[in-house]
Symmetry: C2
Subunit: 266 residues, 2 copies
């Protein structure tokens, strides 16, 4: 028995164990190349970590490796910046070719002070449209967000089911900033097999009063939890979450995007 489980599991046999979540980092994921079979690679990492998949497990996978496997990469050497990209790059002291890629990935510029915040074609509002050059080999290669992260998540979940026989939910995560709080947090940009929003409206609180406006973005909380074990400098882009209780529905992460009509900060 591992040291970390002993203080509780020794007693757990005779107790009614309280709800418990466990999160496992999966080490040893190699550098991902276009065309790689992520399902085989992740299943191998799970096996090496001495874990067996169980129904209800949630795999949180960093966007970066999904993008690489899908070939969502651009070589900046092939990019000709537009006049708008050149002007923005000058203002922001950035590589005009990278700015051009950001603009191509965006349907709307949200802010250009200090950082380039745009709305992507998916509808995500984030810095640089998710275009990133960290954890990519080569100086001129950037990654894009997956074209359709919900579809990517669904494909992965289906393949995990087929390979393992278990119902495994998949969340594709990325780190986004927030306007009023510093620092990035991991959020769900793709999901399959797990509710993304949990609507508690109409359920009574412990005093029988109806809860007011409580919809929880649980897919974002799952992504954030996994983020605690995803150290970008060490390369652990996959986390397995066990013990989260949910109804196995297929709920796209696109549902989390606030519709334009409800956006008070346009």
């Amino acid at each position: 028995m591992s040291k970390r489980t002993s203080s509780r599991s020794a007693a757990a046999g005779k107790s009614k164990a309280a709800p418990e979540l466990r999160l496992f980092s999966l080490p040893g994921i190699p550098e991902i190349q276009t065309g790689d079979d992520l399902v085989r690679i992740i299943a191998d990492a799970v096996r090496r970590a001495f874990i067996r998949f169980e129904n209800g497990d949630v795999l949180v996978i960093a966007q970066k490796i999904v993008s690489k496997a899908e070939g969502a990469l651009v070589d900046l050497a092939s990019v000709a910046p537009s006049p708008q990209a050149l002007a923005l790059a000058e203002q922001l002291k950035k590589d005009p070719r990278a700015v051009e890629v950001v603009l191509q990935q965006s349907r709307r510029i949200v802010r250009t002070d200090h950082v380039l915040i745009t709305e992507t074609h998916h509808g995500f509002v984030c810095a640089n449209a998710g275009v990133d050059h960290s954890n990519v080999p080569g100086d001129d290669i950037v990654t894009l967000l997956p074209k359709n992260p919900d579809r990517s998540a669904k494909k992965l979940a289906t393949a995990f089911r087929k390979r393992t026989g278990k119902r495994v939910a998949v969340i594709i995560s990325d780190t986004f900033g927030r306007p009023w709080r510093l620092g990035l947090t991991n959020v769900a940009i793709g999901a399959a097999g797990v509710p993304v929003l949990l609507d508690l409206r109409g359920t009574p609180d412990r005093h029988g009063k109806l809860l007011n406006a409580t919809i929880l973005a649980v897919a974002d909380e799952l992504a954030a939890a996994a983020g605690l074990l995803m150290d970008k400098s060490k390369g652990s882009p996959v986390v397995l979450i066990r013990g989260y209780r949910y109804k196995p529905v297929s709920d796209p992460a696109a549902r989390i995007i606030r519709p334009a009509a409800e956006d008070l900060f346009r």
Copy 2:
């Protein structure tokens, strides 16, 4: 050995276990009253869950019970709404006395379309300044945010240390909305003993390139992780997180608040 640990811990003895987080919900926390000793109550709940505190454990405590213990409550029967509160209440179809309390808790109104979003005296931008009437007995009682959540967290962490002999970090959490994403997520409004922002700038990625602008709001991710086990309708306002590796610094959650000068969405 509990069923939930068997598939992994059977092998863990001979494996180099991968980094792992465990989150325990602490059931049986009673209705909290003004003046209650939260440390004794939580320590009792930990014991009943057959858990022993370990150095490095992080307790995430829902704001609501801290506010109740501190007496941060207002009886709406005692509130006389100002003309501004009356006008806003009419516009928003809300109780003018509750709106008055929100205004008193705020230093700035941010938005008044559909919801009342303000900046609290602490600097938090959130709906209704954190004033809430759910999970409070009585129809006319509302809770306020703790006056100084970082001080509350520090007091609790010090008392846990004294009571248990262990270094236990404390995060006080609340659920906040986000402008571009639907649903609430748990964030840290108070913290003691754990870094709130993890600055990875200047650390190399796995290819040796320096990570660009990566500061992670880890206290918010800890709060979000705990939120997955805090079911507001069932009353489990305390979650213990074990296995998170961090430097034990005292870092106030107020640091997460984006300074006004850097706020692009004023």
